[in-house]
């Protein structure tokens, strides 16, 4: 049986295209130094850690990403502690089983840095680290796709909210902690394995949602043909 006939014999679940937006909320928790940051991180809700790693993708951005998370950015640009920023900036949040493990890693790195420093730098009052959480609201669209080839024309036009939902937020929803495209493509057997490998090779960090959309567009164009 060819891959093509195999796919015809199975009724695949449709890929339902969705969109999303975040709404930010203050936690009332702030930090003015690494000690304050460490102390707050120990108890801050997991949603806040998630927001400070990924929420920046949906915030307006003009500059290139120098650091992937808000903690590293703050260490660099407010505390002027480049060493701390580099160590925090290299953390890959996708490598951790859960946000609590990520929290532990952050706390350990900051503790280690506090031990090294003779003097702890302080942030000015108006540049404190503000811990934020967000609610995500998920919208439906009218698009439900039966075949992966249909995504070829859709991905370049997807909203940034939609890219966030299917490529970033999906990692929290799916048991395999992957994007939404991969498990759907896998449901067609080996037919789209090269495309799956290509998508899995995309680094979701240190980039923007529009750049991620471009990378996804390229992968789909490279591996799929228009019918």
């Amino acid at each position: 049986m060819t891959n093509k006939s195999h796919s015809k014999s199975i009724t695949h679940q449709k890929f339902v295209l969705r969109d999303c937006a975040l709404i930010a909320m203050a936690t009332g928790k702030r930090a003015r130094s690494l000690i304050g940051l460490r102390d707050q991180l120990e108890t801050i809700e997991e949603e806040s850690i998630y927001y400070h790693f990924w929420g920046g993708l949906l915030r307006p951005q003009f500059e290139d990403y120098e650091y992937h998370n808000d903690f590293a950015s703050w260490a660099a640009h407010t505390l002027n502690d480049r060493t701390m920023a580099e160590r925090l900036g290299i953390i890959d949040p996708t490598k951790y089983e859960n946000l609590d493990q990520l929290r532990q890693e952050l706390v350990e790195l900051i503790d280690e840095r506090i031990d090294e420093l003779e003097e702890i730098p302080w942030a000015p009052r108006d540049k404190q680290f503000e811990f934020i959480v967000s609610d995500i609201v998920v919208f439906t669209t009218k698009q439900a796709l039966s075949e992966p080839e249909a995504l070829l024309g859709i991905i370049p036009k997807m909203s940034l909210g939609s890219i966030f939902y299917h490529f970033i937020d999906a990692r929290r929803r799916s048991p395999q902690r992957t994007d939404d495209f991969t498990p759907w493509l896998k449901s067609f057997g080996k037919r789209y394995q090269d495309l799956i490998d290509g998508i899995m090779g995309i680094d979701p960090c240190l980039t923007s949602l529009s750049a991620l959309r471009d990378e996804l567009t390229e992968e789909f164009s490279n591996h799929l043909e228009v019918n």
Binding site: D19, A21, I23, A24, M25, A26, G28, E47, P60, F62, R125, D126, Q128, E130, I132, V133, S134, D135, I136, V137, V138, F139, T140, T141, S159
Partner: protein, 413 residues
């Protein structure tokens, strides 16, 4: 009859409006009431003028009530406003009493409207005590703070906090303004309406006619600051910056345009100070415009070479947003909500002094292409982030959370 909301997809794209309908669907039939202190003048009134009909078109019965007060009440609330922005004001007991009494009287007249409302939005400190005076209220109450509350004068905030902490949620424009409170604190910046007369595209002929009316030369560079005459907007600092820049650009002109708001008793005093500072310079145009001068303000902003908003405290600075929507580079005070909009070297420049403003004025007048590029970026930035459609989306999301008690994820299936 065509609906207002149907005019927005051409500006925002259809998906944005479709999302509003999805969010509004589970809220249909609810009755929402907004309460503030002025029907005309200032950003809050302008937002509500368009938000109320749009919410109604989305199927949520939305009303707008305005509280009324005497001179003592407005003197007190202006002092609150200044104190929330950091001024160490001493407020006599007599004014506190007038504030409480006014709210008690307004509660009596608004009781019918507010008691059964499903959601009540109370804007700024003026009507904050209503929550205490509406007994047996049924719905969720939200306190919306539009002020730069980054560093409030503590005794006044302590007094207001007694009222604010009774609400079910509060909304601040920026995280830096958010105060610790025993309820969810949302971060929702305000917005402009692209279809408001103040923001629609104008023909050059209409702009030139307005410039003629005020004896402004359309061929010479023009700085425009549109603001209430308020010391926090630093109009005197703008005149100083203009004078420093004019030494290098003798053709430079300045417009300081503002209106009064009925809840601002200090406006006249500041206006006189500004006129005195402008003295007999024929290239400084101090314009006090009526509240409904939206097209004239639009024309002045459209004709501007650079928009200035040199505030030293600023809740958000919707005049910055308006200027960016008209593709103008903005020189803004490095404070409050201006920081969220003016991104150095991208949409304009943040400045800390009249000298800093003068330096950037000279830079932008010398680097025309850069100014042009900033204007284009600024307009797209506003389209993505600061239009009323985004504002409504966030209000609806918050309302869903409050009404249905959802936490962190709202799935609209």
């Amino acid at each position: 009859m065509s609906r207002l909301i149907d005019q927005y997809p051409q500006i925002t794209g259809p998906d944005v409006i479709e999302q509003l309908h999805q969010l509004a669907k589970p809220l249909k039939g609810l009755r929402v009431v907004h309460v503030n202190a002025t029907k005309q003048g200032g950003g809050v009134a302008e937002i509500l003028q368009k938000m109320i009909p749009l919410m109604n078109e989305l199927g949520i019965k939305t009303e707008w009530e305005v509280i009324e007060g005497n001179a003592d009440f407005y003197t007190c609330t202006k002092a609150f406003h200044n104190a929330m922005q950091g001024d160490q004001v001493q407020i006599p007991e007599r004014l506190y009493k007038a504030f409480e009494q006014t709210n008690l009287e307004n509660a009596e007249s608004l009781k019918k409207s507010l008691t059964d409302a499903d959601i009540v939005f109370i804007h700024d400190p003026q009507p904050a005590p209503l929550i205490e005076n509406i007994k047996g209220r049924k719905g969720k109450w939200v306190w919306r703070c539009h002020i730069d509350a980054n560093k409030p004068f503590r005794p006044v905030w302590k007094y207001l906090r007694n009222y604010v902490s009774q609400y079910d949620a509060s909304v601040f424009s920026l995280s830096a303004f958010a105060q610790p409170l025993p309820h969810p604190v949302y971060l929702i910046p305000p917005s402009i309406d692209p279809l408001n007369e103040k923001n629609v595209p104008l023909d050059r002929s209409e702009c030139v006619a307005v410039l003629d009316e005020f004896n402004i030369d359309p061929e010479r560079p023009l700085l425009v600051q549109v603001s209430r005459f308020d010391r926090f907007k630093d109009p005197i600092g703008v005149i100083q910056a203009y004078r420093l820049a004019k030494e290098f650009i003798p053709t430079l002109q300045l417009v300081l345009a503002g209106g009064g708001a009925s809840d601002d008793p200090e406006g006249e005093i500041v206006l006189e100070e500004v006129r005195a500072a402008a003295a007999d310079d024929v290239d400084i145009h101090v314009l006090q415009l009526p509240d409904d001068s939206h097209r004239k303000i639009n024309a002045l902003q459209t004709a501007a070479t650079i928009i200035v908003q040199k505030s030293i405290r600023e809740g958000f600075g919707l005049t910055v947003t308006e200027g960016m929507w008209k593709q103008k580079p903005v020189i803004g005070g490095n404070t409050g909500g201006i920081r969220l909009q003016v991104i150095n070297h991208h949409t304009g420049f943040l400045v800390n002094s009249p000298a800093g403003a003068a330096l950037r004025i000279r830079y932008l007048l010398k680097n025309h292409d850069k100014a042009l590029e900033m204007g284009i970026k600024g307009k797209e930035y506003v389209r993505e982030n600061f239009l009323i459609t985004r504002h409504i989306r966030e209000y609806l999301t918050m309302m869903l959370s409050l009404v249905y008690g959802t936490k962190h994820r709202i799935d609209l299936k």
